[in-house]
């Protein structure tokens, strides 16, 4: 798994030399790293392609895909949140594109984004039980909800 | 009033009465034929199938009515133009150029009436 390999590096401020890069950071640093990614002239990641999460049992890996139109390089930024403590900083203040992406992750995985202006479910109904893209979400919950 | 004026009115009212009667008959027929099963959901106003928030009868923005006021002014003035227009031929023949001048005054006054709200910015839809 690329994620597990990368996690050993534990980089906080990335150095990007190649065309693409793949780094993993601790979640506390996310906001400051993101700011730097966005603002530093040699990084200049102005395009946030998507935010998503992958469920690995006791932790969720959050994936941020960036691209720089100016420098023509892309970056996959990974960070982890423990399933017990699903809170992470929101990036909406830097990229407006992050707004709905974060809401989607919140909706489908239950990750709470600190500082998000409007953190509500986006695809599912407000009273939907559980977060369906988590691996422990059994599909029969769904049926019960529909029957209800 | 001359007798044919009354005839005009008779025609007008008959046509109105027939129009109303036609609708009444058609609605009555429909009442006989059509089903009638009111339900709570059916009698809700349509709003794209979502739960309604707030109500439509509110203090509405005044900008729609500004035009109504303007209309009133212009309509009344325009109505006065009609007799002038009908009699224009005879007026020109009897009064000569002054008929045109009178017409011009009328139109210019109307024009000023338009320029005023225009400059005031009332014609702008904000």
């Amino acid at each position: 798994m690329a994620a597990t390999k990368a996690s050993k590096k534990s980089v906080s401020v990335p150095k990007i030399t190649e065309e693409t890069a793949d780094i993993t950071i601790v979640k506390e640093k996310l906001k400051s790293v993101a700011k730097e990614l966005h603002e530093k002239e040699n990084l200049h990641f102005e395009h946030l392609s998507f935010i998503t999460a992958v469920d690995f049992g006791d932790y969720l890996e959050l994936i941020y895909q960036f691209y720089s139109y100016k420098r023509k390089h892309s970056l996959t930024l990974r960070t982890r949140v423990l399933t017990k403590d699903l809170v992470i900083d929101s990036l909406t203040s830097i990229w407006k594109a992050a707004d709905w992406q974060e809401r989607e992750v919140y909706d489908l995985f239950g990750v709470k984004f600190k500082g998000h202006p409007n953190l509500k479910r986006i695809l599912l109904a407000e009273d939907f039980p559980g977060h369906p893209l988590r691996k422990d979400f059994a599909c029969k919950n769904d049926e019960e909800y529909i029957l209800k | 009033m001359q007798s044919w004026h009354y005839a005009d009115l008779v025609y007008m009212y008959t046509y109105i009465a027939v129009g109303i009667a036609f609708i009444a008959v058609a609605l009555g027929l429909s009442r006989l034929v059509a089903p009638h099963h009111p339900s709570k959901v059916k009698n809700e106003p349509y709003e794209c199938g979502e739960v309604i928030t707030g109500q439509p009868w509110i203090q509405f923005n005044v900008r729609y009515y500004v035009f109504a006021l303007l209309f009133l002014i212009f309509e009344v003035e325009t109505v006065f133009l009609y007799p002038l227009a009908v009699a224009y031929k005879t007026l020109v023949k009897t009064m000569g150029i002054s008929a045109f001048i009178e017409m011009g005054i009328f139109v210019v006054v109307l024009g000023l009436g338009l320029v005023y709200p225009w400059r005031k910015g009332i014609l702008k839809w904000v």
Binding site: A3, L48 | P56
Partner: protein, 367 residues
Amino acid sequence: MPGAKTDTIKLNIGPQHPSTHGVLYIKAELDGEIVKNAEPQLGYLHRAIEKLSENRYYHQALPAVDRCDYLCPNLNELVYCMAVEKLAGIKVAERAEYIRVIMAELHRITGHMVWAGSLVNDLGAMFTPLLYSVRDREKLLDLVEKISGSRMFPNYNRFGGVKLDIPEGWLQDVLNYIDIQEKNLVDFRNLVESEIFDVRTKGVAKLTTKQAINFGLTGPLLRATGFDWDLRRDEPYSIYDRFDFNVITEKDGDLRAIYNVRIAEVTESFKIIRQAVKDIPAGPICNKVPSPLRPDKGDCYVRIESSKGELGVYLVSDGSDKPYRLKLRTPSFCNLRAVQELVKDYKLADLIAIVGSIDIVLGDVDR
């Protein structure tokens, strides 16, 4: 009028509304005709494609992905197949690459044309422009049916190639179709580009490049702001580097610019298809793929330029025969976010037009 107290109306636009392109629901707040706030509410067409795919074999996810953007399904298939191929290290047959490009561009044409038709519909025209483009789409669906057996959802791409070889005379049919479409495009433009269309679209929902990038807008919306970017040229996938075509940009960033970009792109697609039809080589249409398919552990992100913008697939494999996680980065979803900010202080009629201009397909938004 100063001093007059007025209330705002909270209006639900959608999901059962004639011009929300399906089941989009916009919570709008109106002050008279002016939109003070508009918030799209999604999910009425959520079919959990991502979750479904996790419980299916790799190839079984294909039909599900097909149903994402139902106007140009082939592009969804293409990007999903590319992701699996990248993860599993599968080579694509040369002939299949050409067929894929032809199919993709055909769908791009119809995507753009149906968009343009429905935009004019949203602006209040009778069905004429929309039906003009739907009429042309009908011919395209015939072509798709001929090659794949299915009209709407071809399910035609396979890992390593495509499902079936080209039937006899199909390439000629494609060329004929393009000729007809090219003529009809002139007709369409004559019909649509009237004075009223101009006043309705020029200067509406102006965007700067900086804003557009920050919103995460891609595709024609971004190009309409004057930003020269097209994944087909700048990050060539499949065999797009072999074709000669222009990337269209406009500088205004308003509805009219978006319209111009898309219509011009249709012409570029004609060019690409003509070249592809000319150069298409003989040979096998699909490489051998191990069955069941078990890509190595790992993940990848693949993106292509769909008719709406950057369409991406993020795929994680845990080494089993099912995808561990499939994330679809759909352009409709990302672009629709901008509506919220764009419509402020425009009229209600503009709101409908702006939503229409974004080119949303609700299947693509909700997945």
